[in-house]
Symmetry: C2
Subunit: 162 residues, 2 copies
C-alpha cells in the first residue's frame, strides 16, 4: 500500500490503518456477519492476494482477530475485535452520506432501521455536552493532552485566521 502518514493527527493515523478502499468493503462485510476468507472474496470482488494482504494487516492492527475453526484446521474465521467493532459509527456516517448524496430522488439501495420499532434511525448529529445539536461552525479544535509543538503551532495558525 502507500507510505504511512507521520503526522500526529488522528485522521492521518487512522488512515494508516483503514485508508484503503478495499479495507472498508471488508469491514462492511464483517458488519454483515461475514467472517470467512472466501465470503469476503465473493462479496467484495477483491483479488485473493490483496485480500490476504489486507486481512493480515487488519489482524496486525487489531481490527480483526483470526481464529482457527475445524479443530485441525487450515480454515479460519476473521472476526472484528472491539477496536474493529467501534468502526461502526464511521461506517454508518459513510452510509448516510452516500444515501444523501449519491442517489437521485432518494432512491437509496438500503435503509437502516431500528429493529424494535421498524423505523429508520436518525441521522448522526454532532451535539454539545448537554445534547444540543451543533453545526461545524459551532466547533473549535484545541490541542489535546498529547499535542506536540507541531500540532500546537498548526492550530494556533488556524485560530489566527478565523
Amino acid at each position: 500500500m502507500a507510505k504511512p502518514h507521520r503526522q500526529h493527527c488522528p485522521v492521518a493515523r487512522m488512515l494508516n490503518i483503514v485508508g484503503d478502499h478495499w479495507t472498508w468493503l471488508i469491514v462492511r462485510e464483517a458488519f454483515y456477519g461475514v467472517s470467512r476468507f472466501s465470503e469476503f472474496e465473493r462479496n467484495t470482488g477483491i483479488a485473493k492476494n490483496l485480500l490476504a494482504d489486507r486481512l493480515a494487516r487488519l489482524v496486525e492492527d487489531g481490527i480483526f482477530e483470526k481464529r482457527d475453526i475445524g479443530e485441525r484446521g487450515t480454515r479460519h474465521a476473521y472476526r472484528l475485535t472491539e477496536k474493529g467493532e467501534s468502526l461502526h459509527t464511521v461506517l454508518i456516517a459513510m452510509v448516510q452520506w452516500g444515501n444523501d448524496h449519491i442517489y437521485p430522488d432518494g432512491k437509496v439501495p438500503l435503509t437502516i432501521i431500528e429493529r424494535a420499532s421498524g423505523k429508520p434511525i436518525k441521522r448522526l448529529q454532532l451535539t454539545s455536552h448537554d445534547g444540543a445539536p451543533l453545526s461545524r461552525f459551532d466547533l473549535a479544535v484545541l490541542p489535546g493532552p498529547g499535542a506536540g509543538r507541531a500540532v500546537r503551532q498548526r492550530l494556533s495558525q488556524i485560530s489566527e485566521k478565523s
Copy 2:
C-alpha cells in the same frame, strides 16, 4: 487511482469518490480553512502531481468548487461545496475513532470543543427516531426504494443467518 466499485452500495459508491487516503487529508485541510493549492501541498505532504489529480477529481465529483482569484488570475481557491461540507460528520467520526484507539492514556493531539461553552462535544451516537441511543445490534438493514435484485437477494441472505 483504483478501478471504481460497481456495487449498488452507498459505501462502495462513496469510496469511488473519497476512497483515497490523500483525499481525506485534503478534505481535513479544507475544514481547517485551507483553500489554496500550495497550502494543501505543505500541510499534507502530498506530491504536486497527486494533489493536482485529486483536486481535479474532487471538483469533478462536486466535493470542491474551483474559483479564480486575483482577477486575471492563474491563482485559484478550492472551496468545499455543500456536498463536500457534509463530509464533516464522517471526518468527525474518524477523529473520534482515532482519538479513542490510537493514543495511549488519552494523550490525544487534539480535542474538539463547542466554541460557546468551551466544553468537549459528545461522541457521535446512533439514535432511534425518538432519540434513544442504539447499539449496532439494535439495527437492521432493509432494501430501500432504489434496491435492485442483487441488493435484495444479498440482504435476504443476511437476515436468514441472524
